[in-house]
């Protein structure tokens, strides 16, 4: 089960970005890059050589390594294939949140390791916005914990199926809040524009300016896995969870790709927010999730 899910995540994660980019291209009236572009990019980068900055230490290389490890480990805690995740234990969702925090510690430290002003700027923004996104994620989990019967991420996420009728308002709020968190954590529009090359405006892309070759390949791959994981997280709350494993897996994976289409539409429909507005949107997400908690507590 662990191996199967790992293979699925590794194989399908870059596809989601492909779907997003294809959606954006279609809306813009372009043909766009191939659906599998990220696979080619990563394959090419892994074969290439690289140059390291004189300023850097091992921390610079630990950034991409830990980012990928953390994202893959987190993916195994999601009920993706069956309705119970390969790794599930009481309190696993706290680990889920904290492995991403570990990855953030090392990616931002890697950015500071170069001594570059741009990358420091990106790192500062990344840790600042995470302070507002993390409580929203936790509040959503709290609301789900009230509805679920055991404290594992699998049961928290799959409880939504049977409770959509009884607690629909709370679930809608959770999904709304987590979609904002999904966009923020993965540096998508309206928080960040993955296409921009104006360094001053960026968050995630600017942190990895100095990574090249295989290390950059890992960065891209880890980013794709993280996006996939957050997509699957939101999808699991929205979806019913059929008992049949094959049906469950098909439904979930399809839903993740649909979320990809949704992100593509969002990115085509709106621009990036000004930096000062970003905290306001994230606080909104936190408050929405807080209302969900109030609703389930009443």
């Amino acid at each position: 089960m662990i191996v199967l899910q790992l293979i699925v995540v590794i194989a399908l994660a870059p596809l989601m970005l492909g779907v997003i980019n294809r959606t954006k291209a279609i809306i813009a009236g372009r043909r766009g890059q191939p659906l599998l572009q990220l696979y080619y990019d990563v394959a090419k980068l892994l074969r290439r050589g690289s140059v390291l900055s004189k300023s850097t230490t091992l921390v610079f290389l630990a950034g991409p390594a830990i980012a990928l490890t953390a994202a893959l480990l987190a993916s195994l805690m999601l009920p993706l294939i069956g309705s119970s995740a390969p790794i599930a234990f009481t309190g696993d969702f706290i680990l889920f949140v904290y492995v991403f925090a570990l990855s953030r510690f090392f990616t931002t430290s890697a950015a500071l390791d170069t001594g570059s002003a741009f990358e420091g700027m990106g790192a500062a923004r990344e840790v600042t916005f995470a302070c507002l996104a993390e409580p929203a994620l936790l509040l959503g989990l709290l609301a789900l914990a009230r509805l679920a019967h055991s404290l594992t991420l699998s049961s928290l996420l799959t409880v939504s199926g049977p409770t959509w009728r009884t607690a629909s308002a709370a679930l809608v709020l959770i999904v709304a809040s987590w979609v904002i968190v999904l966009l923020a954590e993965n540096s998508r529009v309206p928080f960040d524009d993955p296409n921009t090359h104006l360094e001053l405006t960026m968050i995630h892309e600017v942190m990895v300016l100095d990574h090249g070759g295989p290390a950059f390949g890992l960065v891209l791959y880890a980013g794709a896995v993280k996006l996939f994981v957050f997509g699957a997280l939101v999808a699991a709350v929205v979806l019913p969870h059929p008992a049949n494993t094959a049906a469950h897996a098909a439904l979930n994976l399809a839903a993740v790709l649909v979320i990809g289409v949704f992100i593509g539409i969002v990115e085509s429909a709106m621009g990036r927010l000004r930096l000062v507005r970003i905290p306001q949107l994230l606080i909104t997400a936190t408050l929405i999730a807080a209302f969900a908690v109030v609703l389930v507590l009443k």
Partner: protein, 650 residues
């Protein structure tokens, strides 16, 4: 056996500094003192280990003071709190060999008060007699004052130590009242159980409030924390490690101990602890973010971590008093484990900071940079502490925070009705916010101090710390990893201490089993991944940081710690308004300009100091009658007597 060993170790700690103190500047005498203190630490650790594993033991001797008795009682709770004292005593002694060698002024002085501090602390954590407790409490307060003020050429150090002494005595004053009240209620001069139902009486309320103020000042709970940042920043680094690692824990111990005296601790007190804990944790880390001084930053983080501990305790008390033993046990166990964890990583961070400051010759984070390539061992130790204090897996901070989180989540799932669930629900998002802010703060501190390029010539000249300083950090690094990766090995000790503290039976061993497995998996995978990346690109050619093709980068262009934290500090500006010294107007062709910002402590600098100044000015009016001449005072006495005489006649 455990009581005898701990007492012997405490006495040995207290006396260990004498050889160094009496023989001035002798290298051999300093070595002997260090060896004595390390031996005492080892004996004490064995004693604490026996106390945690075995039965409760007592040691009693008569004492001439009325009501006093030299009674030491080592139960699991005392042993649990005594263990870090002895560990840090030994580690700090070893560190001081390289950090404060015999050739440095006051080498004997600092060793003597350091040992006395450790000995006093061990007695505080184990005293059964209230008067012995108070005596040891004062020994700690005073020896900590002398240890902090070691570097008394510096005016800021003198002021900080003075403030600490004043705050300490306000704390002691509350404890005098507390001890008197305990004696009046129980009729005993020992820590004796209060009569059933005391929690609901006025005496019970008074006991709780006195304990909160008296112990809260020592623990550095907000808003009683005013003394803490200065005192922790001012002392020598191993003294700071001791202050932050265990001295503030004696306040936490006091709260724990007083709670054990109640049959059922009052629920309102649990809620009060929650409020103080959450305020301390969030604002502690917010103030930490705004600091430029590495040691003040770490000091504010102590307030944050004490906040987390007290939050866990609050979860325990609230859930326990409402009859939810599972949740209560998680709260107590999380709080206790965080006591150990904080001792380990905070001491490690202070020792690492001490090496960095020693080497870069400044405490200002924005004047360091690039130390990792010059002092890799210190950098690795500091990084371990930084990851641990952020509560990140697979290190120890995660385990204790996980327990408190689990308490909060279990409460929202199981508890219905009343205010318990809403109260405990706040804990999870607040901890998440605290954790994310701590992460921001330590990425800033580690990044600005150890990564990038040196910002000053002194930082560029920095060199690795002497061997004794590096060895001293090793046990703490091992401790952070061991509790993080093998939490089940120490779970029985936490269970016993939590059972004494809460009066409940429970265990965290089974709950921690998957955490242990996952921490191991994460650690192994992360190491493998780093090694693979290192093998693949580690030998790549080296060149300047690309930085979008900027041709001539200088160290001054790096993001500084202030700029890194600016967004978050602005976010909290309503609670801690920064003071900005910026040029008012620049000429058309600016020549030289400077910008300086700092964030004063809201409670101390914006409330207490202006308030006490105003009180002093008001009382100046009374100065006219204080002439200092004897006959004037005789006149006052005579006049008063005359007035009283007339009054009584009427």
């Amino acid at each position: 056996m455990s009581a005898a060993l701990i007492t012997a170790a405490a006495v040995l700690c207290a006396l260990s500094g004498l050889p160094a103190l009496l023989s001035r500047r002798s290298r051999v005498a300093c070595r002997i003192s260090t060896a004595l203190l390390m031996t005492a630490g080892a004996i004490g650790l064995v004693g604490a280990g026996l106390g945690l594993a075995g039965p409760t033991t007592t040691l009693s001797a008569p004492w001439a003071i009325p009501g006093g008795a030299l009674r030491i009682r080592v139960d699991a709770l005392s042993a649990f709190f005594a263990a870090p004292v002895f560990l840090l005593a030994g580690v700090g002694a070893l560190f001081s060999e390289g950090y404060w060698p015999a050739s440095r002024p006051r080498a004997g002085y600092v060793r003597f008060f350091y040992g006395l501090l450790a000995g006093g602390l061990a007695i505080v954590m184990t005293a059964q007699n209230l008067l012995l407790f108070l005596t040891a409490w004062e020994i700690v307060a005073i020896s900590a004052y002398f240890a902090v003020v070691t570097d008394d050429d510096d005016e800021t150090v003198r002021n900080a130590a003075w403030l600490y002494l004043v705050a300490s005595h306000v704390s002691t004053l509350s404890l005098f009242a507390l001890v008197a009240l305990l004696h009046a209620t129980t009729g005993s001069w020992d820590f004796a159980a209060l009569p059933a139902g005391t929690a609901l009486t006025a005496a019970g309320h008074a006991i709780c409030w006195l304990a909160l103020v008296g112990f809260g000042i020592k623990a550095g709970l907000m808003p009683f924390h005013v003394w803490l940042p200065g005192a922790h920043a001012g002392g020598p680094s191993h003294v700071s490690a001791m202050m932050s690692g265990v001295v503030i824990k004696m306040g936490v111990y006091g709260i724990f101990r007083v709670l054990t005296l109640f049959d059922v601790p009052p629920a309102w007190f649990g809620a009060t602890l929650l409020v103080f804990g959450l305020v301390s944790s969030i604002f502690g880390v917010a103030f930490a973010l705004a600091q430029h001084d590495l040691k003040r930053l770490l000091a504010y983080h102590s307030i944050e971590n004490i906040g987390i501990i007290v939050t866990g305790l609050g979860v325990g008390v609230v859930a326990g008093s409402h009859g939810y033993p599972t949740i209560a046990f998680l709260g107590y166990a999380g709080a206790l484990l965080h006591v150990w964890n904080h001792s380990l990583f905070k001491a490690l961070l202070f020792l690492g900071a001490g090496s960095a400051i020693h080497s870069a010759e400044t405490r200002d984070i924005d004047r360091m940079g690039g130390l990792a390539r010059r002092m890799p061992w210190t950098a690795a130790a500091f990084l371990t502490g930084a990851v641990a204090i952020c509560g990140l897996p697979p290190l120890n901070g995660f385990v204790s925070e996980w327990l408190i989180y689990l308490g909060s989540f279990t409460s929202i799932q199981r508890v219905t009705g009343g205010w318990v669930s809403p109260a405990l629900v706040v804990v999870a998002p607040a901890l998440a916010l605290t954790g994310a802010l701590a992460l921001a703060c330590f990425v800033k501190a580690f990044g600005a101090v150890f990564l990038g390029e040196p910002r000053t010539a002194a930082a560029a000249r920095s060199h690795e710390a002497p061997r004794s300083m590096r060895w001293a950090m090793l046990p703490l690094v091992v401790g952070c990893f061991a509790i993080g990766i093998l939490p089940r090995t120490i779970a029985p000790a936490v269970d016993r201490a939590a059972a004494v503290a809460s009066g409940l039976h429970g265990t965290i061993t089974t709950a921690l089993a998957p955490v242990q497995t996952m921490a191991m998996v994460l650690a192994v995978l992360a190491v493998i991944a780093i090694i693979m990346v290192k093998l693949r690109v580690g030998n790549a050619p080296r060149n300047l940081t690309w930085d979008c093709g900027y041709a001539a980068p200088t160290a001054r262009m790096q993001y500084t710690s202030s700029s890194f934290a600016r967004g978050l500090v602005a976010f909290f500006a309503w609670a801690m308004p920064p003071v900005v010294h910026a040029p008012q107007r620049l000429p058309l062709f600016p020549t030289e300009a400077s910008l300086e910002t700092h964030v004063p402590d809201t409670v101390l600098d914006r409330l207490l100091i202006p308030l006490s100044g105003r009180i002093r000015r008001t009382l100046m009016v009374a100065r006219h009658i204080q002439s200092g001449r004897m006959h004037a005072y005789l006149l006052y006495i005579g006049a008063t007597l005359l007035v009283l005489l007339f009054w009584s006649a009427m």
